[in-house]
């Protein structure tokens, strides 16, 4: 279980997180929504301590990771799989080596076993047989899916997806949503999904949290969110330019 307590983070004068409080339920999918540039990726990076907060805490299974030393932090990180917004594939390695990387680093599996898992994960994201390609030879959407395959290669306990379906066609979006739902169910994953895609949000999420002006302004089940009268949410879900979310 992940608990975020009163998290504050500024870059220079710009306040990005201004007291975020959020509990991520174990074995459930929590979707975080919010405007572009609103700090969703920054929040996600705090959960694996790629960023250190100015103040506040992040508890992973009861451990405050904001204060951990490198060694203990590494142990905690082994529970996580992460899909970065830009996929962050290693461009000096082939697709196969990318997906195999967490398995090689964190397990003592034999090469033949690893190859099998890699092939399986690539099949799951609809990219059978591209092990030998380099990331630079892939389209943006393909890179995203390879990043997804890498994030779930280990079957981690917790997976963080930063916009898993952005840039994919509607069919692929549907397929990836289903993949996220299936892996979540089959392995009882705790997952956090950042998404802008209104349809995906309601389909994938057990819980939905809205981040606005550095705070979680609304949190609830898809039904609760759909019924919410909070003007921020109403505007976000309807995609209107009128309302409390300013576009400038």
């Amino acid at each position: 279980m992940i608990k975020i307590v009163d998290l504050h983070k500024s870059f220079g004068k710009q306040k990005v997180l201004d007291g975020v409080n959020l509990e991520i339920e174990e074995g459930k999918t929590t979707v975080i929504i919010g405007r572009s540039g609103g700090g969703k990726s920054v929040l996600l990076k705090h959960i694996i301590r790629l960023l250190k907060p100015d103040s506040g805490h992040v508890l992973v299974d009861g451990t405050d990771i904001t204060k951990l030393n490198d060694k203990d932090l590494n142990e905690i990180r082994k529970k996580f799989g992460v899909l970065f917004q830009g996929a962050a594939l290693f461009d000096s390695m082939t697709v196969g080596e990318n997906v195999a990387f967490p398995l090689k680093e964190q397990t003592k599996m034999k090469d033949s076993e690893i190859r099998k898992i890699v092939a399986d994960r690539l099949r799951a994201v609809g990219l059978t047989g591209i092990e030998e390609k380099m990331p630079s030879e892939l389209s943006g959407g393909m890179r995203k899916r390879v990043g997804l395959a890498r994030a779930i290669a280990m079957h981690p306990e917790i997976v963080l997806f930063d916009e898993p379906t952005t840039g994919l066609d509607p069919i692929m979006t549907e397929a990836i949503d289903n993949l996220i739902i299936d892996t979540q169910k089959n392995f009882n994953l705790t997952s956090i999904v950042i998404s802008h895609d209104v349809e995906s949000i309601f389909k994938v999420g057990h819980k939905i949290a809205m981040l606005h002006e550095g705070k979680i302004v609304e949190y609830g089940t898809p039904e609760e969110i759909r019924e919410s009268r909070n003007p921020v949410l109403v505007q976000f879900l309807s995609g209107s330019t009128e309302g409390p979310i300013k576009i400038i």
């Binding site: 790629l50 490198d70 990180r77 970065f84 830009g86 962050a88 290693f90 461009d91």
Partner: protein, 259 residues
């Protein structure tokens, strides 16, 4: 008075910044050392870097070495002729190459070729979140990215320096003996008479230290890149400038201690 105090203020700030940066590079060095002694070493990554730093730099280093030897012979000849000491041209070239120009020019060439590439590569990995991805997969970026590069720098720059020394002396010979007409036997004899093994060793120690400097600074600048493609460009330039200056300055002090 305002302008003066601002100037002093700025000077103070820039001194502080530089001292702070040196401290950070030193900390990185310590962390590299501590990862170096922790097995398993990533041999495949180390060999890949050694190939990149060493094998692929041979051509430029040979070219630099041979022409430096040639021009030293040419210049030395005109100078020594005034004292009828042309026979010393060979030993001057050999001493100059092994003690100074071999290590310094080699490491400057490697800085331009490989140090800059290290900064650019790591910088790109930083801004595209690949370094974050490494840390998240519990793979230490210092161990994976910096240790192999530093090892390659420390091992390969001395090897390249041996090549540069050798072709430099060879270049001196080709200009000195056939072109300028110095007696071949005397040319060679004076080299063996005036050049000690110590000259060569000390030159190679310098080369190893320069290799450390250029790879460490290249990695440091790349590792701490921010701000997209522009940031990568900036990191690369800064790495080359800082490494070159550091090599030249440390060369003076190393020479003062060694010879």
């Amino acid at each position: 008075m305002n302008r003066a105090s601002t100037a002093i203020d700025n000077l103070g700030r820039s001194v502080l910044r530089n001292v702070e940066e040196m401290g950070r590079i030193l900390l990185l060095f310590i962390s590299v050392l501590s990862w170096m002694i922790r097995p398993p070493l990533k041999l495949r990554l180390i060999f890949k870097q050694m190939e990149f730093v060493g094998v692929k730099s041979i051509f430029v280093v040979v070219l630099t070495g041979i022409f430096t030897g040639m021009v030293m012979a040419l210049q030395g000849y005109h100078g020594f002729r005034m004292f009828s000491a042309e026979s010393l041209v060979g030993s001057t070239v050999a001493l100059g190459m092994t003690r100074e120009l071999g290590p310094v020019l080699t490491s400057l060439m490697v800085t331009a070729r490989a140090g800059s590439a290290m900064a650019a590569e790591l910088g790109t990995m930083r801004v595209t979140e690949q370094i974050d991805a490494l840390s998240v997969m519990a793979a230490n970026p210092v161990k994976h990215l910096i240790v192999p590069r530093v090892i390659a720098g420390v091992l390969m720059v001395p090897v390249l320096t041996i090549v540069a020394d050798f072709v430099g002396i060879l270049g001196g010979y080709f200009v000195g003996v056939p072109v300028l007409g110095i007696n071949s036997g005397i040319f060679v004899k004076n080299i063996t008479r005036y050049v000690d093994l110590d000259d060569i060793y000390n030159g190679l120690i310098k080369a190893a230290i320069f290799g450390l400097i250029l790879s460490l600074i290249g990695c440091y600048k790349g590792f701490n890149t921010s701000g997209g493609a522009e940031g990568v460009g900036k990191a690369t330039t800064e790495a080359v400038v800082l490494a070159s200056i550091s090599i030249l300055i440390s060369d003076y002090f190393l020479t003062a201690i060694m010879f």
